[in-house]
Amino acid sequence: MILRPDLPKTVDEVSKKNNKNTLNSFFPLRTKNNEFDWDAVLGHVVKISYRKSLGNGGLEEFTQLCRTRFLAKLDEEDFWPVIEQMYFECDDFFDIAPELLLFKAQKVKGSSPNDRLGAMFVSLLQDFFFKDKPKIPLNFLEGEIYNAFNEYLNTVKSKASAATATEYPYLPFLTGHFQQDLTFLGKRPKYFLTVFKDFLRLYSFLYTSQLAMNLKDWRSGEPKAKPLYFILDNEKASDERMMVKECGYKPMGDAFWNIFPYLAMNEGLQESKAKKRPIWDIANHLREAPQTAELLKDYAVAFKEQRELQRPLATSGDPLDSLNDLLKLSTDQFARAETRHEINVKYVRTIETELCSHFIQSRGRAGRVLVFNQDYLVLLTNLAIGELDRLRFNELIKAFESRGVFFDKQSQQVLIEFYGRIGNVERMSDSGDAVYVIKTI
């Protein structure tokens, strides 16, 4: 049984069990308390992807450990303060190796916003972790610290069990890419460190935008990358650019309004302790279980009455139609005239400010558009080329699209110019097709 067996059947039951819309799955934002500390999120992701944890150990304890180690080996004790200044009195310490970011995960406690954002990445990671660690070229001082750290890890009581995902991936295609890209970065720890934060921001945005675009399409089965057109930040966003206008910020912004109502309803349908399933997966199961139609229908009727909504409900006896009713009702309760309207307004605003701000720009008459700046573009290019030496431009564009980033012909021209400028194109000939793009790592 996919559905919760005790789905409310009466108005009373709805008041008791589903009076509030709660959301704890598939999306990191809540209706309140949404400030992210990306550093801590980094630590959190390291914790999961490296399957390591510091337990209760802290940076101070570790510094003392290093001090003892170094003093035993140094012929001049006075050099320790220099090392201490170099590494332990500022964030440069974290530039040694990604694992050291674990110290930043220490702050994550309870259901803080960082933890929730971390959970979103857990969902993207699923059961992924770095299996083999690459050798990082370190000088002997940093090597000493790194070795000390690995020993320290073994001494602290670490509950090395990985946080397993409490939900199935909503966007399996993106999960695949995320794991693949993370594996790629994991092999290049130096580069990884420089782009880690950008990498997570990029994926939180891709997840958010693609989730929003795919929510309504739950009848079509497993989600695919939906077209979302971006421009480069040095480009003009003229009105004539159909794709940028029609398949850009606007449909995405509109779809944001569905995130909270849809996901909250979805969560309400499932048992609270069960591993949560995405709506499209629920729909797949319901299709096989016509007997659930009655349950859902009763719930829909009760829900409608309890929330005092006006929507004619389906009479077909198809469970999917009732599911559709429920999702629509859930959205209706946040409609403009309803008391709950303000909640969703705030929620959508938070999505934009917390997760999308790096990718949305206001461009005068063209309004808001989705943009990619050069740093993200170089990162995405490197990820898309991945382990290959070079990629044909057409395939690069396809690799972008499979991650949910689309560019129209005009942007593609600018893209080629950009690659030409930073010197990572190889042309086989001057006909546009045979342009190869190489990595810049």
Partner: protein
């Protein structure tokens, strides 16, 4: 000369907007006069000879495919149309992009059908195809066998024997020789257009001169282009565009470029350097000699605008007017003419005074270095020359670039990283790897646009290399002279960053580290690798 074409009309064959710019099989000719000119201009190329060789080897039952691939405008269709009639009874021809069976089919679908027919039939096949399209077919086509073969060809791996690939890119249009650089192809074409004898175009030129109202500017341009030294300078510029701007040269682009030089809006020198939508000119404008600043040039510009008397210059201008260039041109226009004429005598040689200002060291330098790498044979003079080049340019530039934020470091010391205001550095050896250079010499297979720099870092046995082109050379030279690249300079700096990364990796393995902060200079040595004892000095 049966028709009454004007010179401009005759030349219009060259333009890319002319119907002659694209070859297809035509039943009727569009103009008898133009047909004659076109066939006069036809130059047989090496790829055509090779193509003919392969084609004539085919027998009617061979299961072979010849792929003639190149860029748009290379002349694939031109070659194919020429042989289509002669061989059509025993070979099937397919011109991709110009042929289709159904208007609604995509090019890929059309190719699928061509290959299916080929498999079903028993005639050999010739396909003229764009290199980009070839790549697309390798990804999206239906015929597995051919897809695999194309992929192998594109990745320079082994492909089946019954597939023959002739690629225009394998027939470079520029050569770099010890004596200098040239483009046999471009030069031949220019000579063909301006030849003194048996040249139908010159006949139109002569006729134009006898008219009551000749197109004077066109005639002046034609006269200028007929000067061989000017042709050489133009070929030089095309070569520069190829090296520096990565501009490829196709036949169609070249023909259109020549047409623009002759029939463009101004005199030849202005057509060559004034910005316009011609793709070659748009690259060449950046080499405009009028932008060079030197004392002599500035003086000339000033004198001309102040109309200071200069009898030598007057004589020079008078001589120019004899070939049709009117008096009173702008200073930039004259400067460009000086530049074009710099390799030849003209009138009282007034222009020779500016010769040195126009001297192009970069290309000469590049050419020397390119030869040192592609034809190194180990003679003592070459040995000294290449070592000096590495020491004074390559390694000096890498050292300066690597240590750009750590100016206090000494020679041989390389910056690794900065930690909270402390700079870490290590001493490592960066040396030329002569042995590998020697082993890499292969004059047959080298691209004029780049070569490889080889060196060894520290005690590593592995030879490291980076691709070098003229832009990198230029950048290195400027870095040695004191220039510091910034982040907008991303071009080619990416390559330097790669070396810096290699160096940092090696340097971090060093057993002695230098730690610098302000005046403080410490040194830590890992004296015993097993027990790891650190010796500190300088405290």
């Amino acid at each position: 000369m049966q028709t009454s074409l004007s010179l401009k009309e005759a030349l219009s064959v060259l333009s890319k907007s002319s119907p002659y710019a694209v070859s297809t099989e035509r039943k009727e000719s569009m103009s008898a006069g133009l047909d004659v000119i076109k066939s006069y201009l036809y130059i047989e190329t090496d790829i055509e000879k090779d193509f003919y060789k392969e084609l004539s080897k085919l027998s009617a039952n061979d299961k072979k495919i010849i792929f003639l691939c190149g860029s748009s405008g290379d002349g694939k269709s031109e070659i194919l149309t020429k042989y289509n009639h002669q061989f059509s009874n025993r070979v099937d021809f397919h011109f991709d992009a110009t042929h289709s069976f159904k208007p609604q089919d995509s090019a890929i679908q059309t190719l699928d059908k061509v290959f299916t027919d080929f498999n079903a039939g028993n005639k050999p096949l010739v396909v003229g195809i764009n290199i980009g399209m070839l790549g697309n077919y390798a990804e999206e086509g239906d015929n597995i066998e051919i897809k695999e073969s194309i992929k192998a060809f594109l990745d320079s791996e082994k492909f089946p024997d019954n597939h023959i690939y002739l690629n225009f890119e394998d027939y470079p249009k520029f050569e770099l020789q010890q004596s200098g650089h040239s483009s046999k192809f471009a030069k031949r074409l220019l000579q063909r257009i301006t030849a003194e004898d048996g040249n139908i175009i010159r006949q139109y030129f002569d006729k134009e001169l006898t008219l009551d109202k000749p197109d004077k500017r066109l005639c002046a341009n034609y006269a200028l282009l007929s000067i061989e030294a000017i042709q050489d300078v133009i070929v030089d510029l095309l070569f520069k565009a190829r090296l520096i701007k990565d501009q490829f040269l196709t036949v169609r682009a070249l023909l259109d470029f020549i047409f623009h030089l002759l029939a463009g809006p101004g005199y030849l020198q202005d057509n060559l350097f004034d910005h316009c939508d011609n793709e070659l000119v748009s690259k060449i404008t950046e080499f405009d000699p009028a932008n060079i600043r030197s004392q002599l040039i500035d003086k000339f510009v000033l004198a001309l605008s102040l109309k200071l008397p200069d009898s030598d210059f007057d004589d020079f201008v008078t001589e120019l007017s004899k070939i049709g260039i009117r008096r009173g041109q702008k200073a930039v226009s004259y400067l460009r003419l000086f530049y074009l004429l710099r390799k030849t005598e003209f009138s009282n040689n007034y222009h020779q005074a500016y010769k040195d200002d126009f001297h192009e060291q970069l290309i000469d330098k590049y050419s020397t270095v390119w030869h040192l790498h592609t034809a190194y044979e180990g003679s003592p003079t070459k040995r000294t020359a290449i070592k000096t080049f590495y020491k004074e340019i390559v390694i000096a530039a890498i050292h300066k670039y690597n240590n750009r934020n750590a100016p206090n470091l000494n020679k041989g010391e390389f910056f690794i990283c900065e930690r909270n205001g402390y700079q870490l550095a290590a001493k490592i050896d960066l040396k030329i790897d002569l042995k590998t250079i020697e082993n890499h010499v292969n004059p047959e297979r080298c691209d004029v646009s780049h070569f490889k720099l080889f060196f060894k870092i520290g005690n590593e046995n592995k030879s490291q290399n980076i691709p070098a082109n003229i832009n990198l050379l230029y950048l290195m030279q400027r870095i040695v002279d004191g220039y510091r690249p910034n982040k907008h300079d991303k071009n080619t700096v990416v390559i330097l960053d790669e070396i810096v990364q290699m160096i940092a990796d090696v340097a971090s393995k060093s057993s002695t580290l230098h730690v610098l902060k302000g005046e403080q200079r410490l040194q830590v040595t890992n004296v015993d690798n097993e027990n790891e004892d650190y010796e500190v000095s300088g405290l």
